[in-house]
């Protein structure tokens, strides 16, 4: 892999940019790998990356039915924060957030991590109490967050309307080192690093079956033929139920469509991320100037990557109350992603009933922020059979009633 640098740009400029090499190879699958990861989203690629980097396991293939990063990783609104309530969540999300601080240097790939700060607005007294509690919990967990009053909210985000007719802003939970990153770049950066370690990223190849013998995984069937492996990592977000059925078990997961939309680009007007969970909308401004807006989830199982129109209307209505100046903005694009939602709104990083088959899923509406930490934990679990970051997120917590209840923190927000 040739490193990217200011010098490389100058060098290639002199050669009319003809010397750039491809960021990753696109090989045909080999008959066998030590480990196969299904799903080349951020979580799958980060898992492969840390298998190689932290555990020396490099005979790895990542199999993707579409193009890498084309699932939720390339469809999300890129909010990064770690202000969760429960200890296991704070641990893994803060690990991920701290890895984001140096990810561009580690990968030699600019993911444009922008720790511009995230405010979660409190617009009811219930929310005030909830976020104050979270701020206290975060202090104990070593996650830097702060409860702030309405004046400070206005200072941080002048375009906000503090005394909206229905839900005045009563304060907020502020995480100064939260922010955003370029979503595609996270997938591309990991893919480039995995390829450079000799791993095979096989795109346009759908896993259609899981082969097993005596309760142990043997390999997968794909549209490019069967491939053997010692260990299998299933990291397919919304399609987790489909893969679980192939592997012979059920998951505590339902897949629904979650939407987002962006406006036409405008001049810089907002340099923080604002989430308004009571009225159900959130917004940030991209580097191109578009207002990036997160919408709602459909209330019923579906795999449409589209979402219902009335959610767009609800979201926009909520945001206009909070930011009256956007009322004349035109929306440019709208899309959906299939999110994998668990009962306690926490992810699953776990062994499965099938031997040597591991699963990483259930990130639902909020897993972009977790990609580096999740890959770190999943790789450790696959390589060593256990992981301090992952153990609490095992599949048997539902059976044992050991929930990691983030339904308030993550069920609505992202």
């Amino acid at each position: 892999m040739r490193r990217y640098s200011a010098f490389a740009i100058a060098r290639e400029a002199l050669r009319h940019h003809k010397g750039w090499e491809r960021a990753w190879r696109s090989p045909e699958p080999r008959p066998r790998y030590d480990a196969i990861i299904v799903g080349a989203g951020g979580h799958g690629l980060a898992t492969a990356y840390f298998l190689g980097k932290n555990h020396g396991l490099k005979n790895v293939a990542i199999i993707e039915k579409g193009w890498l990063g084309g699932g939720n990783t390339g469809r999300n609104t890129t909010i990064i924060r770690s202000n969760y309530l429960q200890d296991p969540s704070a641990a893994i999300y803060e690990k991920a957030r701290s890895l984001y601080e140096t990810i561009s240097q580690d990968l030699n790939y600019n993911v444009m991590f922008s720790p511009r700060g995230v405010i979660m607005l409190a617009q009811t007294h219930h929310e005030v109490r909830g976020y104050q509690r979270t701020a206290h919990a975060n202090a104990l967990q070593g996650v830097q967050t702060e409860w702030i009053g309405p004046e400070r909210v206005k200072e941080l985000c002048p375009i906000i309307n503090l005394d909206g007719p229905r839900y005045p802003v009563l304060g907020g939970l502020w995480q100064a080192r939260g922010g955003t990153a370029r979503h595609d770049a996270v997938a591309w950066g990991y893919a480039r690093a995995c390829s450079a370690m000799g791993m095979d990223i096989i795109q346009q190849c759908e896993v259609t079956g899981v082969r097993s013998s005596n309760g142990q995984v043997m390999g997968v069937e794909t549209t490019k033929g069967p491939i053997d492996c010692d260990k299998l990592g299933v990291v397919v977000a919304g399609h987790s139920g489909v893969l679980a059925e192939m592997a012979g078990f059920r998951l505590p997961i339902e897949s629904v469509s979650l939407q987002a939309l962006v406006s036409e680009p405008i001049k810089p007007c907002m340099d923080v991320v604002v989430m308004a969970n009571t009225v159900h909308g959130y917004m940030s401004q991209s580097d191109k100037g578009e207002m990036v807006i997160g919408g709602g989830t459909d209330g019923y199982n579906n795999y449409t990557q589209r979402g219902s129109f009335h959610h767009v209307e609800e979201t926009v209505r909520a945001l206009i109350e909070t930011f009256p100046m956007i009322s004349r903005l035109k929306m440019l694009r709208q899309w959906g992603g299939i999110v994998d939602v668990t009962g306690d709104r926490s992810p699953i990083i776990s062994k499965t009933p099938l031997g040597n088959c591991f699963i990483n899923c259930g990130w639902g509406t909020g897993g972009f922020k977790a990609i580096p930490g999740s890959g770190w934990a999943m790789a450790e679990l696959m390589a060593k059979g256990g992981s301090t970051l992952a153990d609490a997120f095992s599949l048997d917590r539902f059976r044992e009633g050991r929930f990691i209840d983030e339904s308030v923190a993550a069920g609505v927000a992202h």
């Binding site: 399609h239 987790s240 139920g241 489909v242 059925e245 059920r250 998951l251 505590p252 997961i253 339902e254 897949s255 209330g299 019923y300 199982n301 579906n302 795999y303 449409t304 219902s308 129109f309 009335h310 009962g343 539902f398 059976r399 044992e400």
Partner: protein, 107 residues
């Protein structure tokens, strides 16, 4: 926009009038049941990509529960039927088979 015919009041209900209630035909378990049975009943779901039997409530209409057979990828509705059933009725199964000859009922 999803539209379901409510079998209780006979109206064609827009999705904004309805509330989804998740997978239908789950076997209920109560006190004394094993952990496995409880887990299956409370949490584990088929979550199929394709034909799905599901519960709905006509929340902003007649208020009653009913069941629907629907495709989760195309949103095609194969039919709606009474909530007081433990398995999809034959006419619903026939409607699905007519459209999806290779479909097999989940076990």
């Amino acid at each position: 926009m999803l539209i379901l015919d409510c079998p209780c009041c006979g109206r064609a209900a827009d999705e904004t009038e309805l509330e989804g209630g998740g997978e239908a035909h789950l076997t209920r378990f109560g006190p004394g049941a094993s952990d496995d049975d409880f887990e299956r009943y409370l949490f584990l779901r088929g979550n199929p990509k394709g034909v799905h039997f599901e519960r709905w409530r006509h929340a902003y209409g007649c208020g009653k529960w009913f069941l629907a057979a629907r495709c989760t990828t195309t949103l095609e509705v194969f039919g709606t039927y009474a909530a007081q059933t433990t398995a999809p009725p034959p006419e619903i199964v026939a409607a699905i088979k007519a459209r999806r000859p290779n479909w097999e009922a989940p076990v």
